[in-house]
Structure formats: C-alpha cells, structure tokens
C-alpha cells in the first residue's frame, strides 16, 4: 500500500477507527507514567523547590503548541501544492487542538511566573510571540468558519498558515535574540541538556505522552471534519436532485 493511499478519506476513517483505541491506551500509559515520575519521583529543584514541577505540563504544552502549527504548515503545503482534501482537513482539525495547548502553555507559564518572577505576565519576546501564536490559531479558526466553501476556505487559510509560520523560529530563538525573563533552551542544546536526568527523563516521557494525546485529539477532530464535509456534500446534492440521489 502506497503512503498516498492512506490519505484517502475512506481508508483514513477505517484506519483511525482501529488505531484510536490503541492510541488512547498508549496516551494514558505514557502520560500517566511521565506525570507520576515528575510529580512523585523526581527530586525537588535546589533553586525553585517544588514549584518547578509545573515544567512537566508547561514544557510539553509549549512544544506541542509549536508542533501543532508546524503540522498545520506542512498540511498547508499539501493543500496548496497537491490540492489534497485531507491536507486541509488535517490543518482545520489541528487548529483547535493547537490553540488549546497554546492556552495551556500560557496559563501554566503564568502560574509558574508569578511565584518565580513575581509577575503573572511580562511583554517580553517569548511570551508575546506565544500569545501571537494563540491569536493566530483563533484567527484561523474564525477564517475557516467564515468561508462556507471548505475548499476555498482551506486554500485561503493555507496561505495565512504559511505566512504565520514565520512566528515559529521567532518563538524558538526569542530567548537567544532578545533579553527576556524566560530562561534559554535547556533540553535540546548543541552542548547537551542542562537538566539532571532525574528530571529530564520524566519530562521527556511526559512530552511523548502529551504528543500522543495531541495526536489522538487531532485524529478525532479530523474524523469529525471528514464527516462534516460528507454531510455538506450530501445535502448539496440532495438539494439539487430528486430524493435518493446523492454524491
């Protein structure tokens, strides 16, 4: 079976129907293990004490906020270059999930910032660029809902997604390019992670679990979107033809 065959909506529905129960099982197992290790096994930080434990949800949420937009940018290329309808379905379905994880990163970051920095919010480069990412997610969701024709709406949204993807390197490198309250990268660095393995492994396991959660939610939302388009097509054909004839 060629990879392009998996992008067939009917085959996608059949495949995800079988895959999703396993994906949810893996999510509960991996995310549960990561959070258990992070909250109950990993030692307290010598500077931040127990408060650093917000890292096990904040950092995966922040990574997935960017991962989600990266997935949407890849899907936007699929829409504009190959005109594949499933690419647009993927982008549209990922947007609310990405927005939710971005909101999670903003709220947990604020709840971590108040006790550590003494402020809920600072208009510095990292926080502001993530807030812009959240607003872009909301803007794209509004755009998809504003254009009735999903094909036309998908192409307009794809262009906007690609324009907005310039924000991803800004978020990533904002802590290096500007002076910010936010600490610089400490996990993925050329010189290796600065986090002790006793904290790093629970963080990485939590991140894998949160990624599985993100994929599970996105796949469910994609199935809904395929169904929504089938219903729309059936209604259009039914409205234009005698009862019983459809797409």
């Amino acid at each position: 079976m060629a990879i392009i065959d998996l992008a067939n909506p009917t085959r996608f529905m059949s495949l995800t129907d079988r895959l999703l129960p396993w994906l949810w099982g893996a999510t509960v197992l991996v995310l549960g293990t990561g959070l258990y290790l992070g909250l109950f096994v990993a030692p307290a930080d010598n500077l931040q004490g127990e408060t650093y434990r917000i890292i096990f949800i904040h950092v995966p949420a922040a990574w997935l906020a960017m991962f989600g937009y990266g997935m949407m940018a890849a899907a936007a290329l699929g829409t504009l270059i190959w005109r594949h309808p499933l690419a647009d379905v993927a982008a549209k379905a990922t947007a609310p999930v990405g927005a939710a994880f971005t909101l999670m990163a903003l709220i947990t970051g604020s709840l971590w910032g108040k006790p550590m920095w003494g402020t809920w919010w600072e208009w510095d480069a990292r926080m502001t660029s993530v807030l812009i990412l959240f607003l872009m997610y909301l803007g794209l969701i509004a755009l998809w809902n504003a254009i009735e024709d999903p094909i036309k709406g998908g192409r307009v949204a794809a262009v906007l997604i690609l324009v907005g993807s310039v924000n991803l390197p800004i978020i990533k490198f904002s802590v290096d390019w500007w002076n910010t309250l936010h600490q610089p990268a400490s996990v993925f660095r050329m010189s290796g992670s600065t986090i002790d393995p006793s904290m790093l492994y629970p963080l990485l396991i939590s991140a894998v679990g949160a990624t599985l959660l993100f994929l599970g939610l996105s796949l469910m939302a994609m199935r809904n979107e395929i169904l929504r388009r089938r219903i729309r097509a059936l209604r259009l054909v039914a409205a234009a033809s005698p009862v019983g004839a459809a797409a």
Binding site: T51, A100, L234, A246
Partner: protein
C-alpha cells in the same frame, strides 16, 4: 500531599487543574461534535440520501441476498 508541594502548592495545583480542564473541554467538544455529526448522517441516510459508495454496497448486498 498539598503541604509537600511547598509554599507555592496553590500555583502547582492550579496549573495542573487548568490543564486538565482545557484537555477535557476540547475532548468533550470533539465528542459532542462527533455525536451531532453522526446523528445528522443517520438522518440523511434515513431519508434515502446516501453516498455513492454506500448505495453501491447496499445494491450489492441486495443482489447477494436475492
């Protein structure tokens, strides 16, 4: 448990509670959306409005059974 999280336990618990609420809100919305869409699809099929592939399958089944 709460005491062992130190003086900022409220911030830690609030962060995890907010995350759980957001995840379950999205999951609930997706599930409710799916239920609504499947009901709409069933209503259309009950009115005889089906996709071509579903009509072909129904015709093939009818031929096999006759």
């Amino acid at each position: 448990m709460i005491e062992s999280l130190g003086p900022h336990s409220g911030f830690i618990l609030a962060a995890y509670a907010a995350s759980v609420i957001i995840v379950f809100a999205v999951l609930g919305w997706i599930l409710a959306d799916g239920v609504l869409l499947r009901r709409q699809m069933r209503d259309l099929e009950a009115r005889g409005i089906r996709r071509r592939s579903a009509r072909k399958a129904a015709t093939a089944n009818a031929k096999v059974s006759s």
